[in-house]
Symmetry: C3
Subunit: 152 residues, 3 copies
């Protein structure tokens, strides 16, 4: 139940969310739900995967990009909830995969995020999910992920 401890045990680093800029927020709590904005695969302040699946990256690399997006989304959730121990359930993730038209392994890419969430939260990390291909993403990122979480 103590997810923050589990995150330490797993040796994971949850990034701090970027400071809110301009007119929208990294995420927001409405009622019991936290909605994150679309997160890109940033690591140490640098966009780590720029390009398209089916061409620039393998499915395995795409799945690492999705995992990074999920870590960033959790950083947003933590900053809003105070602690990830307050997560009651990860409800839904939507994973947009920057894809060449012939690429059809969006689910395997999204697994990088889904597996991370289950590793951390167990049953409370199992979520509904949509994975879709798109032809363009902000900054040319390989993956963009948004998350809805229910908090206690």
């Amino acid at each position: 139940m103590n997810y923050e401890t589990r995150i330490k045990e797993l040796g994971l680093t949850i990034p701090d969310p970027p400071a809110p800029v301009a007119s929208y927020l990294p995420g927001l709590q409405a009622g019991q739900f936290i909605f994150t904005s679309g997160q890109l695969p940033f690591a140490n302040g640098r966009l780590a995967f720029v390009g398209r699946l089916g061409g620039d990256y393998t499915t395995q690399e795409g799945s690492e990009a999705a995992r990074l997006c999920a870590l960033n989304a959790l950083g947003v959730v933590r900053s809003l909830a105070g602690s990830l121990d307050r997560v009651k359930q990860v409800v839904k993730i939507t994973v947009f995969v920057n894809s060449l038209a012939g690429f059809t392994e969006q689910p395997q890419v999204a697994n990088g995020a889904s597996e991370l969430l289950q590793e951390i939260f167990g049953e409370a990390g199992r979520h509904a999910r949509s994975a879709v291909g798109v032809n363009a993403l902000p900054l040319g990122a390989a993956v963009e992920l948004e998350m809805v979480v229910m908090v206690k």
Copy 2:
């Protein structure tokens, strides 16, 4: 009000959802809302529409694919709610249509899902909807649909 009876009268078959695999779920209830994962046009365990609108399929065929996705989504809702009689309102569907760049009839494709929902649930089946084109979908499916439903 008895939707399960109506489904029988309409001669519709709502598929059982696939067994949950891996780290995500076919759908999830959070509070009063059920969120389904993105559903593909499976019929009898087989992906029935693989290809893109504007090329491989006519708009009418796309609308049949969207209808199949909606039937699968209802299978998920039924498995979570116990019975479709517990549906209070279909809230929102998002319909991703695998499209060539010049194809612009995503709404007509999505109508296949929307009309089915109204046929079954009447006023409670009328929902908010987004229909968008994308260049790639899991397994090359022609349509992917996710649904949010409010239950009693």
Copy 3:
């Protein structure tokens, strides 16, 4: 707090939503949340931006299209809530940008909507947001936007 007055002061025109046609709705309230359907950049009943970013339109023009979509979404919210003064918080917008594959400024396009929302609602207008590129949209629209709003 009086948003309708502020809208008048800003000289903005919020369009009436289209009459519901067929089997889906311009938007829906479920619990405290209003979900709008995907809105296109209509102005005076005419689709004002038809084409793709990275080719047919500049980023600045895309941002005007996103602003128009947001005005139309607010028309839907107003029609459901009775008045925009009942808005408690704009929760989330998703902005689908009709993009050539090389176009990566979806966030700058989406800013047209985000800035409008903050202009009208202040802190209550600051929202979570996803901006993604897609290769095709209904009627060839340059932008499609959906909105989730919490009402009092």
